[in-house]
Symmetry: C2
């Protein structure tokens, strides 16, 4: 990251990332210019280069910051596999519903990363998947979960959970916490942990 | 659709749609010009307007054609709810794995549709979701499936299944048919139909 150090950069850096995220989500990385990002932040185009080397670095910083924040916020898994799964599902749903631009850009603009940045993003994404897969495998070892393939079940679960960001609308019939509770039941059953949906 | 009738349009129309799909998937709708699409097809920029009114119409035609093809190819559901679910899952996985550019554009460029085209696309998407929800509801009535909420379970399943397009790589350890079989087991268990994953 080419951000300038000091208090000014401390304030403008996140503002630049937020503005870039908003514009990339709305128009796509390729269609957005550094000039537009500068206008969105409210600085001269030249001033942007105090905070980032180029648009590619901005995209990579954005996606890496999103994933680092995700990994840092992950709750430590409960020793009980079922409670660990519940904790993960609740965290994933609530975290992603509150960061929909970031989720959209993270999925959509993988194609726009250069190979080096793509590898860095993939490494963090893989660490997140591994966290869930470890929960799944512990549950399998304990005889609580019984998917045929822990990796495939992990990827299936993450896609299922992240899907809420495509249909959830604020002010709809369910609050995020209620959505999370329903997905906890679905996730338990997906892993064959049974009784997930009959407990209500 | 503003396509010209006759044999020439019959050939070029699909070629134009395919070229647009490829470019939109690679660079995003906003970044692609009609000139680039014409070059990809191998015609003069002006000639494109014989086949489409503008880029917005091209995007709408693309997404509507994808959804109409999807709906037309859907297998009639088996009277047995579990067999109907298996048929749907197999169809969805195999259909989507073979059309990944279309899936990516359909998800990513909803934001780029004007309100009228968005409504038309949403209507077809809703019809597809309703098809699966009917299967889920029949299974609930028969006591085979037991999700708390048929709509939410339907959306969760579709997200889970479509997720394969983000991680599946040709030449990987699983052929599409084997992926479909694993997702059939996961989907059965997600709906609480049990025994989905212990049958192997």
């Amino acid at each position: 990251m080419a951000r300038k150090s000091g208090s000014h950069a401390e304030i403008t850096g996140p503002k630049v990332l937020k503005a870039a995220e908003r514009l990339f989500a709305r128009h796509g990385f390729a269609a957005v210019t550094m000039r537009q990002i500068a206008a969105e932040v409210g600085v001269q185009a030249g001033a942007l280069y105090l905070y980032t080397r180029d648009k590619q670095s901005l995209l990579a910083d954005l996606m890496l910051a999103h994933l680092r924040e995700l990994l840092a916020a992950l709750p430590a898994p409960d020793p009980d596999p079922r409670a660990a799964l519940e904790g993960f599902v609740r965290f994933h749903i609530l975290h992603h519903l509150s960061r929909r631009d970031a989720v959209f850009v993270a999925y959509m603009e993988l194609r726009s990363l250069n190979p080096e940045n793509f590898a860095a993003v993939e490494e963090l994404r893989r660490a997140y998947e591994d966290h869930l897969e470890t929960i799944v495998q512990r549950g399998m070892a304990a005889g609580v979960f019984r998917p045929r393939d822990s990796r495939l079940a992990t990827l299936a679960l993450i896609a299922m959970l992240t899907g809420v960001t495509t249909w959830y609308r604020e002010g709809g019939r369910l609050l995020p916490e209620a959505v999370a509770e329903q997905y906890i039941a679905l996730a338990c059953d997906t892993l064959g942990a049974g009784a997930g949906q009959s407990r209500s």
